[in-house]
Symmetry: C2
Subunit: 241 residues, 2 copies
Amino acid sequence: MRLDRHSSIPLYAQLRELIVERIQDEVYKQGERIPSEMTFCEELGLSRPTVRQAIAELVSDGILEIQKGRGTFVAVEPDRLSIPHFNALTFSFLNLSSYEDIGLQPVQHVDPEAEIDTAFKVTTDKHPGYWMLQWPVLFDERIYGWCTSYVSAQVFPDLGQNIASGKRMIDIKSNKYAYLPVKGSVALMARPARNREAALLEIPRRSIVLAAQGQLFGRNGAVCEYIRTALRPDLLKLEIN
Amino acid sequence: MRLDRHSSIPLYAQLRELIVERIQDEVYKQGERIPSEMTFCEELGLSRPTVRQAIAELVSDGILEIQKGRGTFVAVEPDRLSIPHFNALTFSFLNLSSYEDIGLQPVQHVDPEAEIDTAFKVTTDKHPGYWMLQWPVLFDERIYGWCTSYVSAQVFPDLGQNIASGKRMIDIKSNKYAYLPVKGSVALMARPARNREAALLEIPRRSIVLAAQGQLFGRNGAVCEYIRTALRPDLLKLEIN
């Protein structure tokens, strides 16, 4: 990329893009100092205010950062939390061996509802509905995502009461082996956050989240769980093997 | 959500959020008509200009759409292209059985480079470098993503020439079975597009892409390919099984 003095794009904006490109190409590396304003002026034949404005905008974007008395540095992107061996069962409730450590929210009962009935391939609305389970993806007290899971109240009629009374997962699952997830079909996409997701994740409304959503199947082939997870795309990555 | 007349947020902005929430809750469903301006005025005790401004903004955001003479409708989100059975090998070059249909760009040779050497776990820069392969993820002539793959020029010394001369994949691969990918470790994340990715995908600079990036391993356990794929998050979803 070269600066174009005849372009309708102001020179400071061209310089800003040039610096971004050099960071992306690792000419200027994360955590390292970029050249001084004077160096840019001389290299590119620019005036001091032009260089200053480009750098000021990159600082306010968080791409560069000023360290007092030391100069201007390429900001270090925070390490992302890695979710290892990500697969369709990663955010399953029924696949957990225990629910004590996940920060489970109070379990709610939901009546039959079109979207969930469709996910469970249920064609009647004459059934006892679902249990809705919600818990955060937490690490070091920081919220990386929220998991929502629906479980059939027909198959697990007492799940809400069982959890409220502290029944252990192993007892909740006993005699239910045909209804525990062994595989799934989860769609992963980036999409604007729903308002409630944005509130839970503490991000601006309609900012992009990484969403994992789909059905989990038991050994008998029936849908046993429907999950809908919203993840902070800026804070984590999913390791696919 | 209720409207709050004492809030510092203007009523039209509150109404806009209320409508968005009702769409997300499927009170107003995709492709269906929303109530008339008068109905909102009466239900919520709002003036006509307030309702009109909220709706106008949602139309300009693409959340609602006006169908002339018919009313205002909830816009239908386009179906996303689904990439089935997504796994670490989905965007591998060496895993392809043929490269004829993928729209492969001219193959470039790249000299040893820190980022790629690290990915290949190569600790010396005394080696013949890499072949860089690039091709679009195309469907119905629409670009959904760009794949970049690096292959060792030490293991495949003639890959560039072989492809330029139209050698078949089966012949390129013969006698190389130990160096063909059988598993991988790919990190999937949403992040701002690099400038070049944004240009290839024809999206605004620094908009969010879904990136799949990582190493693929051959039967001998060594890294045989390094991939870096940028996908349009608004146009596709990855099916994880």
